[in-house]
């Protein structure tokens, strides 16, 4: 697991990030940071720019301008592989699984373990996969069938395992509980708390208000590509959060929070 929370420097600092598609400013000068062992919820309507911002951090889109600082180092993330090398893992809402491959192949996709002869070390990967899937779901044993044959919860287990197995220190979760039943959603909640305790920093994109208040330390609201505000979750009410999301109205007499003071 990741190192213990380092209270000195933020794990992620995004400064004045911009991204335009055609003439549309999807992300327009947004600055956000994230500390180790912290969950920051990213909120906003569809099209507010939160997913685009996270995709830039994950290396899926290049940034137009702005700085990314990871654990104190200025970095240039151009590809998903760059992000992975920095310990940034992403769980996409679509789960980003190859439906025709089995769970083991998906867990290691893009990062296959090779034998000294440069061939796939299938047995090693299957053994490791079995262990990591077992941690999340004891009943998940059909790991060698194409993932299209799996339930929504099992597919989510595969997607989450990708982050878990490769020791994410920064985790981006896009609507992790949207497609899940109550029991599986509770499992994801427990997992987030566990990772947080291990010092992982988590960006949580969600529309689910109970999740925001149950899981996040701080929340960041975006609207039309711009940052509305960053607050301690404990400082604001659900009504105030909805006001920010819908109208872009900052709550009165509430201080913005650049970090979570624990």
């Amino acid at each position: 697991m990741a190192s213990k929370p380092d209270s000195a420097a933020p794990l992620v600092e995004l400064h004045d990030i911009r991204k335009a598609f055609g003439g549309v400013h999807a992300v327009d000068g947004v600055s956000v940071n994230l500390y180790a062992g912290e969950v920051v919820a990213l909120l906003g309507h569809n099209g507010a720019g939160k997913s685009t911002l996270m995709k830039m951090l994950a290396g899926a889109y290049p940034v137009d301008s702005g700085d990314m600082v990871i654990a104190g180092d200025l970095v240039h993330i151009r590809t998903p592989a760059d992000a992975q090398h920095l310990g940034i893992e992403t769980i996409y809402q679509t789960l980003a699984l190859a439906d025709n491959l089995d769970a083991v192949a998906n867990l290691f996709l893009g990062r296959e373990k090779l034998t000294p002869w440069r061939t796939l070390d299938d047995h090693f990967m299957e053994g490791q996969a079995r262990k990591v899937f077992q941690r999340l779901n004891k009943n998940f044993t059909n790991i060698r069938v194409p993932v299209r044959a799996l339930s929504g919860g099992q597919r989510q287990v595969v997607a989450i395992s990708r982050a878990l197995y490769f020791n994410a220190r920064i985790l981006i979760m896009d609507e992790p509980t949207a497609a899940l039943g109550p029991e599986e959603a509770a499992m994801v909640g427990r997992l987030i708390r566990q990772l947080k305790a291990d010092g992982v920093g988590i960006f949580l994109i969600t529309h689910d208000m109970p999740d925001v208040f149950a899981l996040s330390d701080r929340l960041v609201v975006m609207k039309n590509g711009k940052l509305v505000g960053t607050y301690l979750t404990a400082d604001v009410t659900e009504e105030e959060v909805l006001g920010m999301i819908i109208a872009g109205r900052r709550p009165e007499r509430k201080a913005q929070a650049e970090r979570f003071a624990s």
Binding site: A98, A105, T119, H123
Partner: protein, 389 residues
Amino acid sequence: MWRRTGLDLRLLLMSALLVVMGIAFHALSGGVFLSPENLYNIAQQTAVVGIVSTVMVLVIVARHIDLSVGSVMGFVGVLIAYLMYTSGWPWELASLAGLAVALLVSMYQGWLTAVLGVPSFVVTLGGLMSFRGAAFLVADGKTQPVNDEFFQRLGGGYDGGIGVVATWALTALVIAGLFMRLAHERHSRRRHEMALEPLWLDVAVTALPSVVLIAFAWTMNSYQISGKGEPQGIPIPVLIWAVVACVLSFLVHRTRFGRYVYAMGGNPDAAALVGIPVRRVTLLLFALLGLLVTVAAVVSIARLNAGTNSLGTGMELYVIAAAVIGGTALSGGSGSILGSALGALIMQSLDSGMLLLDVAIGRRMVIIGQVLIVAVVFDVLYRRRFGEK
């Protein structure tokens, strides 16, 4: 139980179909179809289409297509023959030059597809016409004879079998290899503390292809051209095809390249998001296609003893049909090398069988076209039944 054997139901059904077809044609043709001579001819006639089909499977799996394979094969084939006959190059050098040109062509088409994002259907549809024209331009439409005796053996033909002793030795070697692989697999699974199937089941599953191999070797060793001292043995084109199929199966199951090709076909977005170098893999795939089209061109001109500008005309249809009959989904993401081999054999057997029965060319084309449709219908129903997309 079924899953545990690791056998593919679809491939077994196709093998059964092939057997049924063989018996039916044998009865109808008055005992000619299953004769060693006819089987030898079918095997070596299928090789060219079979070689290109193996890689076409991967191209289709990756959600691309190549309609230009027949034209490029014609272009490269006539070029190699031209360099040997008109320019007097040795066959090795001529073949390497042909390979270089084939790689240039495939890199050009692959670059348009992978880097510029032009649909491969359009790129290779243009190529289908352009490279047929190029095949004409090489020797101004004149046929280029191929006289090198060693080179001619690559095409099968009179001296194109490897002989009795080599056939049995090779068969024994391959069967030994199959069982050694089984032993290694079981050892490795034990070491990783994974579940093992009962020994008898594993042995039975490995014995099945071994029996087929022995039957094949025996048949090829039973064919003796009249007036020749020794039976033929396995034809060299079939040997080349077998090696190509084994290498590609290895790529598919044991290397990153193969896994990425399937991942890109299964979910292109996911492939990009997890950091698979999609462009590089696509370019590699096209390069592999160029290599195997060259191999097919060499076998082809060696078999015909000449390179002509019409070499490989219409072959793209047979190649794609073999892949599709073999269970390759045109929507991408699924298909197997062994399936393409069975698909190619089914088509060639059907064609040869009808030829033996004196079915006219028009009827043969109508029937083969409809068989292709039947294969796709079966594919759609099969996937629906087994819950694939």
